[in-house]
Structures are given as C-alpha cells and as structure tokens.
Point group: D2
Chain length 431, copies 4
C-alpha cells in the first residue's frame, strides 16, 4: 500500500471510530436498519459509488422473519427523527434495508465485500466497566444493542469505501460493497443473493471481528461454520381458573417449559459440533389462569447437514412429547435456516498473503473455528456454484465479554486492521 494511503487511513481513523460509536449508540434490529442503511447509502453516494437499495438488491420473496408492519413504522419514524434521509428510506419499504455501492475503475475483475449491519435484542450493560457506557455512546434504544460487533463492520465497510475511492489505492475492475441487513437470525443474505447481487462477482470476501481470536491475529478461513435451523414453536392448551377448575385446563406454559428443558437436554452428537438454544419463551395471560398459549423461539445447529438433521429430529420429538404430556396442540413454524460453507483455497491464500504484510498483524492462522454461523455462507455458496472465489476470514480482537453478552465490546483499533486488510485485498485481487 502506498504511503499516501497509509497516511489517509491514519488521518481518517478517528472519524471512523466516531462513526462506529454513532452506529453503536443507535442500534437497529434486523430489517429495521433504516438509519444505518441510509447513512451507508449517503456516504457511498458522496464517495462516487453507484448506490442501489431495496428492491434493487433484495428479493422480497426470499425474506423471512420480517418484523410486523407496526414495528417497521415505529422504527422508520425513529430513524427519520434521528437523521435518516427519507429519500433513501422511501426505497426500503417492507424492511428491504440492504445497500450496495458499486465503483468501477478500468478493466479488471469484480470484487464483492460483505458487511453486516444489524444489532441484537439485548439491554446494554450500564456499568462503568463497560466502554460504551463509560464513554457515553451506549445504546439509546432500550433493549437493542450492538453486541456482536456489526457496528465495527459498518465502520470498516465505509472506511474501505473511502480508501478504495482514493486514486491512491491501486486497483482495476469493479468493486461492490454490500451492506447486508439481518445477519442475526440468518435472514438477510439470502434475499440479496436471490436478487443477484454477487452474480457478476469474481471474488467475494466477508469477515468477522473477534470470535475469540485475539487482537493482532487473523485467520484466513472460518472453520466449521455451523448450519442452523430456526423454528418458532407454539403450544395451545386450554385456559381455566387455576384454583377452581385446574383439571379442565391444559397447560401450555408447562408444555413450553418442558420443551425448553428437554431441548437443552438433547444428547449432543458424539462426532459433530451441535448446539440448541431456546432464546425466547412467552406463555400465559393471567396469573390465575391456566396458560392457554406458549411460544418459543428456538434454533438448532450442527456442523454438517447430517448432524443438523439429527438435532432437528430430536428437537421435533421433544416438542411433540412436551405437547402430548400436557394435552396441548403444537405447531412448529420454520423461520430461517443458515448453511455452512468453506472458503476457497485461492481466496484464503490471498487473505493470508495480504494479512502477513499488514502492520500490527502478528500471526496469520490458516483457519479458526468461529463457533457459530454467518449467512454470508449463502453468498459463498453462490460463488462456489459459479466456480468463483470466496473467503470468510476472522480479524482478531480482544473482547471485553463474549459475543451476544451485554458487556460485549471489541478493540476499536482493530477497525484499522480490518480496513487495511480489505484495502490490501482489493489491491491484491483487483488487477
């Protein structure tokens, strides 16, 4: 990288950190990222990128788990109040908050980079030990928090946009910067893939900050990206007066409780990494009424189709058994599915090679188990099907607490590492 680019990055870093803090302060849940997406679109436009949003980059037929209209309206109103631009959000109806910026320069391959932008339904910690709280940029939206580092991904993405737009970065071809909504729940990638966003790409890269890899290390591929299945489960029993006629009730709350304990107790696979989680349970309507309804949001994961099948099969039995035991009806509604994919050797090698030259990266590992999934895998599968190159890599960052914890925080200096790495990759492959 030229000294000019190095200087640009050093100069602009404080602004990118400020950007990250602003995004962190205003977190938005999946398919509701109106303000974040508007910000990305506006920035890309200002930098000279051709910007596509909404229908242009998302296939609504492939969207699942979209929040209710009222929730969309509320989120939009708040986003507008907080500075989102109506000219962009008008084009994001129905939760289509994906944004793609395209920049062409001479003749060369098409390189697509993916940055995910959504937050999580968590109440952020307010203790002083927590950086965002201490420094005044903790979430201002109760119950929503950037607890997975996607705020950092947004900052890196827009930093890369700026660096790549500089004539001092040497590359030729087409650059597509993909800002993807709703990575949590594995819902946002598929509609963008189905809209053809990477159908012209020769190279695809996506990355995650953290994942238990310390600052100063990079892994050139994610190992064991987990396959996952997400279900909304509903139990329906019969309400009755809890003291007068308990025997006439059929208790959906107890069916839900039993299912939750049973699901967490499924024997894990002996030869595969498998997980199960009941993340949310709501049941019942009144204290002195036998609960008529219960709903559970669950996911099962496995590191292969086979092990995921095993988990699904057992989960189904547990849920049916819980319903049966309480005399309740039940319904299992599939609401999302993520797949696992592996990086191609050439794309991984490019990451290794570039990372080895980035100052501050002390060690480059060939692979790292990320202990979860990322629906970037849908982009990767499309690339593989098209015989093209794709890599999901990990940018290490010392974490204050694990991902999805209310004390989660990463090292802001690693925004710089990520930016340099992506910029280097562009120079490396777009030529």
């Amino acid at each position: 990288m030229s000294a000019v680019v190095e200087r640009l990055i050093a100069e602009r870093l404080p602004d990118w950190i400020a950007l990250r803090r602003d995004i962190h302060k205003h977190p938005e849940l999946g398919f509701l990222e109106f303000r974040t997406a508007s910000r990305a679109a506006a920035t890309l436009e200002r930098l000279g990128y051709a910007v596509q949003v909404g229908h242009e980059v998302m296939d609504p037929a492939a969207m699942v788990g979209v929040p209710a209209p009222q929730a969309q309206e509320d989120a939009l109103a708040e986003a507008l109040a907080l500075g989102a631009e109506k000219r962009w959000t008008d084009r994001m109806v129905g939760g289509m908050t994906g944004v793609v910026g395209t920049l062409k320069r001479g003749k060369g391959p098409t390189v697509a980079l993916r940055f995910d932008i959504d937050a999580l339904p968590l109440r952020e910690a307010s203790e002083r030990q927590h950086g965002p709280a201490r420094s005044g940029y903790a979430s201002t939206r109760p119950g929503v928090m950037h607890a997975c580092g996607h705020d950092g991904h947004v900052a890196i993405g827009l930093a890369v946009a700026e660096v790549a737009a500089s004539p001092d970065l040497r590359w030729a071809g087409t650059l597509k910067l993909i800002f993807q909504p709703a990575e949590e729940g594995g819902r946002g990638a598929k509609p963008m893939v189905e809209a053809g966003v990477v159908d012209d790409a020769d190279w695809f890269f996506a990355a995650h900050l953290g994942c238990s890899l310390p600052s100063g290390k990079v892994a050139a591929a994610a190992e064991k990206m987990l396959f996952s299945t997400k279900w909304d489960v509903a139990f329906t029993g019969r309400a009755a007066h809890a003291a007068g006629n308990p025997h006439e009730g059929r208790n959906a709350l107890l069916a839900g409780a039993q299912a939750a304990l049973g699901l967490h107790g499924i024997a894990r696979h002996g030869h595969a990494t498998t997980h199960v989680n009941v993340g949310v349970m709501t049941a019942g309507s009144g204290r002195n009424v036998i609960a008529e309804r219960a709903s559970l949001l669950i996911e099962v994961r496995g590191d292969s189709d086979d092990s995921l099948d095993y988990m699904e099969g057992r989960a189904r039995e547990v849920i049916e058994g819980a319903a049966k035991a309480q005399g309740c009806a039940h319904e299992i509604r599939p609401v999302g599915k993520t797949i696992g994919e592996t990086s191609t050797a050439r794309a991984s090698a490019a990451v290794s090679e570039v990372a080895g030259a980035v100052p501050g990266i002390g060690e480059v590992l060939p692979a790292w188990e990320i202990g979860g999934g990322d629906d970037a895998a849908y982009f990767m599968r499309r690339m593989r099907e098209r015989g093209k190159e794709a890599c999901y890599f990990v940018v290490g960052s010392d974490l204050a607490a694990c991902h999805h914890a209310v004390l989660f925080d990463f090292q802001e200096k690693d925004i710089e590492t990520g930016t340099r790495l992506y910029a280097g990759l562009i120079e490396r492959v777009a030529r």
Copy 2:
C-alpha cells in the same frame, strides 16, 4: 316484595341484559375500568345516589399491582373514545376506579353490597358455539375478556341500584353500593377497605354467579374461600452467544422453566385444599442469545394460613433451587395476598331466608365450596373485626365453560335471580 317491584324488575330486565352485553363487549382489566366505573357512577347519580369515586373511596397506599402509567393512559383514552365521561374519569387518576353510591332513607341500619367489575387478560373465543360471539357482543378489546361473570355482577349491581331507588321497595336506613375494581389478583378490595368504605356498615353482602353451582340454586355461604399469595418472580442470568460461548451464559429461561415445572409439582397438602399456578412466563430476548432474564407471575393458595404457609415455603425452595441449578440470581416480589373469611351465621341465615322466597330458586344450600378466593374477604374481615354481619353467597348459574376459560358464559336469566335476591335482602335487613 310488592307486585309493583316485581313488575319493575320484569320490565327492566331486558335493559339490564343489554347493559351486561355492553359491558361484556368492552371489558377492562383491573384498575383500568374507566368506562365501566364511569357508567356505574353516572347511573347511580341519575338514580339519586350520592356518588364517591377515586380518592374518596380508595387508599392509594394500599394499592399494589397497578398497571404502568402508559397502560393507564391508553386505557383511559380508549374509554373516553367509547363513551366514558371525563368528569368521572378525571377523578380516577392512578387507577382509582372504585365507585360507591350511597342512598339514605329514614332511620335504619347501613347495608353495604359489593359488586366487582374487572375483566381478565384472555382472548375471547370466536366460535359460534360461544354465546357472546354468536350474538355479537364478544369482546372488542383483543386479549381482554369478561370470563368470570363480573359483567353480570355490574348488571346486577346497577339493577339493584334502580330497584332500591324505587319507593316501592320497603326499606329504611342507608344503602351503600360498592363497585370494586381489580378483584382478579385480589388487589381492589383492600384499598377500599382502608379508605373506610365499610366502616359505618352494619351488614355486608357480596356474591358470585356460577362457581359450578347450577342455575336455580343458591348457597348461603362460601365454604373454603382460599387464602392466596401472589408473587412476581425474576431470574437473572448472563447473556452469551448461544453457539459460540454457551458455557459463558447462565440461562434464566431454563431457571424459569424449571421453576414452573417444580412449582406445579409441589406435593399438595394431605389435609387441606392447596393450589399453585404459574400463569405467565416471559424469558429471553433473542433466539441466538442465552436468555439473561425470565419473569414468572405465580400464585399459591391454601384453605388456611397453615396450608398457605406450607405452599409458600415449598415454592420458595423450588424457586431458589431453580436459580441455584442454573447459576442465576433470583428475586421474589410479593404483589398481592388474599385472605379467606367465613360468613356470619346471621347474615347467612338472612340469605337463606330470602332466597327461599325468590321465585326460580329451587334449592338453598347452607354452603358451597367456591374453589377459589375473592378479596371481598377483606371487607368481611373488617366487618368481623367490628362485630358486624357479613355474608358471601353464591348465585348458581349454568355455565358454558369453567371460569377463566375462553368459552366461559353464564345464564343471563340469573341476573334477574341475583337482583331479586339482593333486593329481598335489603328489605329483610334494612328495617
């Protein structure tokens, strides 16, 4: 009862049934009964009663379980839109929706009658087999339903108000008609007792429709009114990424599930009637996050202080054990308590005597197990402490489904039975 009164009742019955249907169509949860209370106040005023509401009849210091300010505001706005009068609701701030109408006539004892007015958080059935649905007066407020017959109690109360105001009903003394909010949860009676509402009463009567006693029967006392304790229980664990770092989480949802199952599994007392219910459980925030919080709304009941103590003691152990097992913290917040009371012999005898003469009442039982509690017991205890007479009786009514069920419905003709019985009681004791 004179033939004139008989005629009055026969003539007005269709209106009282229409009133019941109107109340049924617009159910209001405890401490939010702005429209129902406004209607009662206006009617009493029109009939010549001195009407007291809000602060005049409720001690806010004794109120627990009051809905949040936002919920109050929403309910009030809706009530006003549906015809509640602002001049009444203005005096019901903070959920003080109790109403007392007082009528004096000559010299005689003070007789207090209690009618409860609140609905339940249930989604009413929409099947055609369900009378209110078939006849077009099912609840128009989603998730709220008169599933315990308090709509009938309101109708009876205002019918009695009218009959008693007629010069043809022979009585002397002071009549106090108490329209009490928030009987469900056992929250509304105590604030009215503490405000001194029955401190001048010589006789107190309250009744319930149904309670598994068929139409045509009356029981002159409630047997085994259950003591109950209501707790809000919270578990706090630690959020974590469900696939990446499950071992760093502490699962509050599982603590809640285990507590729910454990509570329902407490050994019932061998020599007493005891019950436990977890009516509501909510836990977790995101599908792929180990749930950090869970909350349970529970109640335990017993037919004596001793058996209630036993249930409380075991419930406490179960909750502590569940928290311990999941490495979570827990908090038990008491939010209500109802007591049991027994009717006095003289008041019960009066009911028996009067009921024996009411047409349509085929059998008068000395007592009936109501299989639950009623916070009317607080009024009764105050009467007993003051050496006065009190009776809680049951007006049988064939039910379509058990109390608190979404198909609950009673026989509207029993509004007439109840009205006649109360009117007869006034004639019998107020002289």
Copy 3:
C-alpha cells in the same frame, strides 16, 4: 362388657404388646407374611377356632403383584428360621398368606372382622427418639418396616380372638377373624373376597389405628376412602457409549425422570381430592452407558371414579409424552386397583354406640377423612352388594410421625382401646 372380661383384657395386655413388638421386629412384605400368618393360624387354632389358610381363603386368579418365586423362597426360609411352623406355611404356597379363624357359638348372625398384617419396604429409623429403636424391637430385616401400624392390627386381632373365645364375652352366632395379607398396594383383599370369605357374613368391620386422629378419639366411619390405580411403567430406549456415541442412544432414564416430574405436576382436580405418586424409579445399568431401560412404580388416586379417571387420563398422557420426547418405547402395566366404599348407617351406628361406652374414648366422631385407601373396601362392596352391613372405622392414636415415615410409631395403649371396641361390637351385633 362384664368385669371378668375387663380383667382378662387388663391382665393380658402386656402380652399383646409383647406380641406387637415381636411382629414389629420381624416385619414381612405383602404375600410374604409367612411367619406372621403362621403365628396367627397357630394362635387361633390354640384358642379353638377352625382355621383356614391358603387356597381355602384366597383365589389365586385374583392375585396380582405377587413377589417373584425366589423372593418367596427366601422369605419362607427366613420365616421358618424365625419360628414359622412348616405345617402352616406348607399351605401358603404362592404367597397365599391369608388366614381365617372361625368360631361358632349358638345361633346368631355371622360377624366378620378384618385385620391386615403386612409391612412396608422402608428402612426403619435407628435414632434413639424412635421408640422401637430405643426399646430394642426395631425391624431386624433391613429395608422392611411396620410403618403403618399393621403390627398393632395383628396384636388387636389376636387379642380379640382371645377375648371372644372367653365364655365371659356374651355373644351368639359365628365369628370370622380375617387376617389379610398385602393391604399395601391393595392386593390382598380381593383374592379373599373372591374366595367367598365374607359371603356368609351379616356384619363386617375393619379399622385402622392412627390416620391423624389422636388417641382417645374414634371415628365411626372413614370418609373419602380413595380409589386408586397402580401401574408399573417401563421405558425402553437404546444403549450407547455416553461419550463416544451419545446421539445413537435413546435415554430411558431421562424419559423416566421427565415422567416422574410430569406426573407429580399433573393439575390436581378442582372439585375432588386427587393424588399421584412415583414411589420407586430404577433406570440404567452403567455409568458411562446411555440408559436403555427405566421402570417406575406409580399410583394415582381420586375420591371418585370420575376424578380417578381424570388422573389416569392425564398420567397416561404424561407417560406417553415423556417416551415420545426421548424417542423411547413405553409400557404401562396395571398392577392393582383399590376402590372407595362407604360404611352402612347401621354398622356405623353400632360403632358409635359401642365406642361411646369404651373407657378412654373421649370423643366419637361420625366420620374422619383417612387420606388414603384400604382394600377393605372390596369386602365392604361385597357386603353392600349382598345387602349386608359393613363399617370401616378409625381408632385414634397419637403418632410419632406420619404413616409410611421411617419414624412412624403409634401408642401401644391404643391396642387396648381397639380390642375393647371390637369386643364390644361383637357383643353388640352378635346376638
């Protein structure tokens, strides 16, 4: 009762207490009471009764829950070593340990008295606070204990045999003293009823010591004798290496655990007394093997056919649900059933009348809830079907701990009370 009889009772009481202690020291489980039955038979014979045992008084086709042949052999060998007489036990093959002694005197009605003789599978307490331990007559058979007072019943039965055989007790007719095995589990009465043991009886009486009724009180009828159903439940899964191939196992132990918790959590009936118990659970074979089998011994009870049906129905669902949830097969094997019965008015009146005259009985209650069942109900039902008189009464006794507790003990002086009461009844009805 004549003074001579009074003197006889006073003189012999210490021997009957010694007898009780001997029986207590050598408890025998149901259908294995070889020594106890042999002792009863020998005593009756010595007193002049015609003695019938085994096939003569039991119908083997009606026997369920008979211990395995090996257990019978072991128990028999031990009984013989401890003084049982082979001439009696030879006639008790197959666990037919029932004994009936018949004495005729002049012309009069036939009076049948039932005494149950079996112990429970409990390890008796060894603390000094426990009478039998302190006084050296605690069970010498590990894991078996008279914890329900049947040792007292045996002593009363043989005391009554002696008193009735005395010419000083005034009666005429036929006296049948029935020593019934296997009351626990409700297995012993039916085979004796089916063998026709009470088919010639005009009066039938049975009693229980204790039942939470204090010494000095007698209740002339048992109220709410519970109906019960006993099941042996088996779950079959699939064994597998717990660490290497847990996913190939199907865990019968977890199915059993879930069923146990679920059964105890069944909503109790709102209008009836109902109970459920999983008394014994055994599951699995090796620490590092996924358990292939689990078995549960359960019982459900209700105070009516209806409420028992409810409990059975729910229990069946819970068991099926648990099997389903763990991918296991299950089997429900019915192994016993007891019924409830009520005493006839005339027989109860006789008990009341006689009890009122027994010294030391301070109060005679019309009825008492015994909080359980007794298969004496099978005798009572046969009597009722034949239009004859039957009564199950309760002889109060202060208990050291509740029935079936390892610290259970009753007051030995109440052996005297029981003896006098039965003797009085004989004089009262056999004339």
Copy 4:
C-alpha cells in the same frame, strides 16, 4: 516379520477367535475378572512368562469403586465353577485381578503392552442379527456383556504373548504384557501404575479396537482422550404416606429426576468437547411412599482440565439446586477420575511405520478422535513423567453397533490385524 511368524499367526488364529468367544460368553465386570485373569495368568505361565498377579501388580490404596465383598464372593464362586484356577484367584483377593507377564530375551529395552479385560453391566441382545447370539457365544451371565471389545483385547493380548514367545519373532530386551482390570469407570490402571508396573519400561503401547474407525485402517494416536470425573450422588428426603401426608414428605426421587434432566441440560462448552451422563438412577422404596432416597451414578467429561472444571462446576450447581428445590439433603461422592494424555511423537511414528507394512491395513491415519477416555492415560502420564515413549493407537474395525450398545460387535478378523501390529511393534522397538 518372518514367514514362520506369519504362518504361526495364520495357524493359530482360529484358536484365538475361539478364545475371544469363550471370553465373550463369560464376561466379568471390573475387579471381578477372576476367570479371565486366571486364564491369562495360566496361559502366560505356560508360554514361559514370569507371572505376577494381585498385590504384586496392584496398589490397593489406589483402588476405588471396588464391588462389595458379597459381590466379589459370588463372582469368584462362579468363576471357579467355570474353570478359573484357585491357585491364581487366591492371589486376587479384594478384586486385585490385574496380571502381568514378563519375558526377557537378551539385552534391550523394556516394552510394556496394555490389554484391558473387563465387561459392562448390559443385557446382551438376543436377536438373530446379533453375531454372538446367532453363533451361540452370547453372554451367559445376565446383565453383563462385552460391549466394548475388551474380549478382543484379551484375545489379541494372549495371541501376542504366544507370538512373542516364539523364537522366530526377532526382538531383544524385556517384554511386559499387562492385563488390566476395570478399565470401564477408569479404575484399574491407576493401582497398577502405583504398583510400579511401568516404572522400568522404555516403551508403552495400548490400543482399542473400533472407535468408529473402519476395518483396514489404523490411527497412530488417539486424539482428544477425554478427562472425566465420576461421582456417586445421593439425595436424602423424608418418607411419608403418599396420599395421607404428602406435604410431610420431601421427595428424593424428584430431586434425582430433576438433577438428571438438569445435568443433561448443562450448556456444552463452546470451545471444547464436553459430555455428561447420568447412567444409573435408583430411588424410592414403595409405591405409596414418598421416596426418601435417590442415588445417581454420573460422569462428566471434557477434553481439557479447564473444560472438565467447567462441567464439574455446573454439575455441582445443578445437583445442589435439585436438592434445594425438593428440600432434600445431598452428597456428592467422587469415585473415579480419568485423565487425557497424548502419545509421544516417536512412539506414534513407530506405530505408523509398522502399520504401513501390515497386510490388510489400507490406510494409516496420524490421529483419530476416540470420543471417550481410557485410563491407559495413567500409564502414559507415568511414561511421560519418566521421559519415556508411549502411544495409544486405534485398530479400526467395522462395528455392528456403537460401543456400549447391546448389539455391539466387531470384526473378528481384526484380532489378526491387532496381533500383527503389536508383534511388528515389538520387533521394531525392542532391539
């Protein structure tokens, strides 16, 4: 290997298979392998080995989980009846069923080979699809089965003894063949290590048949041998009559059930392989008694000290919570612990090299995850501490069902593979 040795192996193979079948037919649980050990000792003696047994090769102070004296006596009597020699078993008192055969030949290193000999508490399948059942050598001891292939290990061990004793196998030094009892439960290795059995060894090898590795493959090291902790857990509540006084009981069976479900529901570690199993649960004494006692045999595993610590910590919380929730006392008794170890590079390389030359071995993998542990790790740790070489390798074998399943069976031809491999190793390192 010389052609003579090859011939010897081919000739003798049917006898070794017959030996395996004989051992399979007469399986013996850990520390009760009197017949198996006697057979090994006699064979070694006949082949010219110096034979040590009992105290000479086991330190009783390091023995845990030894069966009760009665069980030892019974097993011994049966072993003698089935041909065990008293001159050997007399020296195996107290369950010290370890045997070591030593053969010296010229000057050279000391090579120790370990073969485990115990069976599992499982009832062998009797279906015709199951080889041992079809061919008439299924277990004749009900509830005990060679379901892990140790019968094959015994056959290989004695085959190797014979081949090594042949002058045609070229080696020099000292050969120690260790026949170890009680590998299941991880109890037998430590007492032999503590007795100094490998304190003079330069090389140590142990192997397992199967482990999901197919026939024709060998893995030169076991990867992720799991650390494990074994606990016996007891809950003590209070017995009571299940219908009369359930509220006076404290239910140990429910505490056990809750603990079992809770333990299986512990969140598995996100970065480590962890397991938990409740293999056996027994609770309660009588159907109509609230269960006073429950006992659970459990184990937790992890692939490191850290992850095992995590599992132990959570397991402790679950057990305490279950006790608390049921008002029971609890006790956790540690009864065994296995460790993980890794093979040394030199020893693994030797296995690889030799395996590459064995006919019938098509592929040699550097390592294989065995999905469990083996207390051979205690020998390996001692070797490592002494700076010597050790390797645990896997001899693939197609299995009929997974290890510890009642249909488990391996390919008998792999006895030949194992024998050749060990023989080759002796030639390779003992020189």
